[in-house]
């Protein structure tokens, strides 16, 4: 039962990773008793399961995920939302109004219009049907301020860090409120624009260096150095 790559080694599609009694995990596939990579990424073994942590991927909806999306169309009985995925999501009018509505009377664009951003949860999705969203839970709904940024969705877990260590650190150091959409879209709201920029800078750096060791320490140092630099700059003015 040989394996041909070590943990954290870079593989490309078609690379033979393992042979024998292994199970295909994320971004791999099995043919006969061979496990191959189907995306570029880093190899991870989980007991008998072989995974590839993809460096490039797109977001496929999962029920229960929190996502951040943009309204792209207002229809008769709801909205169409771009959630940074191959599939467009829909949000029913009744979910937002919390009651039945009359298309003749209610102008839906008063509640959410094209271009509006929202935080929502996915309530249903399968191969035959596009995802449905809800905003009727605390913390969900229209976004009115802050900065929105996009990263590769597979890197969201790295931004969270082990037991939330990374995201907690960024929030503390930058004084920002941060919401991570599982779809790779992130909302950052701080008291000052500079704080928001600092948080964005840190997250982009995580995306770029997501699969390296000692990342939390390096990012902490980067934020602190940057803050110190800015203080210097303010003093000299």
């Amino acid at each position: 039962m040989p394996t041909f790559f070590e943990r954290r080694q870079l593989v490309t599609p078609g690379d033979l990773i393992a042979e024998g009694q292994y199970l295909p995990g994320e971004n791999t596939y099995k043919e006969d008793d061979k496990i191959y990579a189907s995306r570029i990424g880093l190899v991870e073994y989980e007991d008998k399961k072989v995974n590839v942590v993809a460096l490039r991927a797109f977001y496929i909806p999962r029920v229960g995920d929190t996502v951040i999306g943009t309204v792209i169309d207002v229809g008769f009985n709801g909205w169409t939302v771009d959630i940074n995925s191959p599939y467009l999501a829909s949000l029913k009018a009744s979910d937002v109004l919390g009651r039945p509505f009359k298309p003749q009377k209610n102008d839906l664009s008063k509640f959410l219009d094209v271009g509006d951003l929202l935080i929502a949860k996915i309530t249903s999705y399968d191969r035959a049907h596009n995802p449905q969203l809800t905003v009727s839970e605390p913390g969900l709904g229209k976004i009115t301020r802050g900065q929105v940024m996009k990263i590769t969705p597979t890197k969201i877990p790295r931004v969270i860090g082990r037991k939330g260590s990374m995201i907690t650190m960024i929030k503390q150091e930058t004084n920002c409120h941060i919401i991570l959409g599982q779809n790779g879209v992130i909302l950052i709201t701080g008291k000052k624009l500079e704080d928001e920029e600092l948080a964005m800078m840190a997250i982009y750096k995580i995306e770029e260096e997501s699969h390296t060791v000692g990342l939390t320490d390096r990012i902490t140092k980067m934020i602190r150095d940057e803050k110190a630099k800015r203080k210097e700059g303010n003093k000299s003015e």
Partner: protein, 244 residues
């Protein structure tokens, strides 16, 4: 007519650009070159300069073209008007329509199209400069653009042609050899599965000559496959560097 007949293979058995029969042209590949595309790649093979971009998977419009059980793969191979000696009309020619089809069919076996029903993947190939063997170089680049877009794949597809010039079987024909040669065999291969996904031929070859050209093209595909993997990994080299 006093047409000057140039010798394509000299007395030492070398070709017009000094290559040996089994030698590929210099190849340079870069992945992730277009910021708007979901995936992209650029290839220079000899004087060929080709860009490939991938958009998707995405919702397919008009919706009635969508398939309930799989992704619709679409491909457009196109040559820029300035890519050849005499200006080429930008309207798609019959040749371009045929090549778009065979290139799509060469890439299709490498994809898990059943993963994302009701969606479309678009592949756009622009030949900026043509120097013989553009369909093969296009496949090599487009396969990398698909990988760069994060689309799940069985294997990369590498492509290379072989042919006959002056009664010699040679690999990776350049423009002059393509035009004056007597046969051309473009081949695309998924090397891990020994699967031939494109095979065309025009010219005049005995069974023996065909077998030789075919094997030479397959060998070329395998060499190009190595370059493809290097190019794909090169984009993520910084990942490794920091780790050390």
């Amino acid at each position: 007519m006093n047409e000057k007949i140039e010798k394509l293979i000299n007395d030492k058995g070398l070709r017009l650009d000094g290559r040996k029969p089994e030698e590929l042209r210099p190849i340079k590949i870069e992945v992730g070159v277009l910021s708007n595309a979901d995936g992209s790649a650029y290839i220079q093979q000899g004087k060929n300069k080709i860009l490939a971009a991938v958009y998707g998977p995405k919702e397919l419009h008009p919706k009635h073209l969508a398939l309930p059980d799989r992704t619709v793969l679409r491909c457009r191979y196109h040559m820029a008007p300035f890519s050849v000696q005499e200006r080429k009309s930008p309207a798609p020619s019959r040749r371009e329509i045929e090549l778009s089809k065979v290139i799509r069919e060469a890439l299709e076996p490498s994809l898990f199209l059943e993963y994302y029903p009701r969606t479309a993947i678009d592949i756009f190939i622009e030949v900026l400069q043509a120097d013989g063997g553009t369909r093969c170089a296009s496949i090599t680049a487009a396969s990398l653009a698909l990988a760069d877009a994060g689309i799940p794949m069985r294997d990369l597809v590498a492509a290379c042609a072989a042919g006959k010039v002056d009664d010699t079987i040679v690999v990776d024909l350049m423009d002059a050899e393509d035009k004056k040669g007597t046969a051309d065999v473009p081949v695309a291969l998924m090397p891990n599965f020994n699967a031939i996904t494109l095979l065309q031929m025009d010219g005049d070859l005995t069974m023996k000559e065909f077998e030789k050209a075919f094997n030479m093209a397959l060998e070329g595909c395998r060499k190009i496959y190595t370059l493809q993997k290097e190019a794909l990994k090169a984009k993520y080299l910084n990942v490794k560097e920091v780790e050390e």
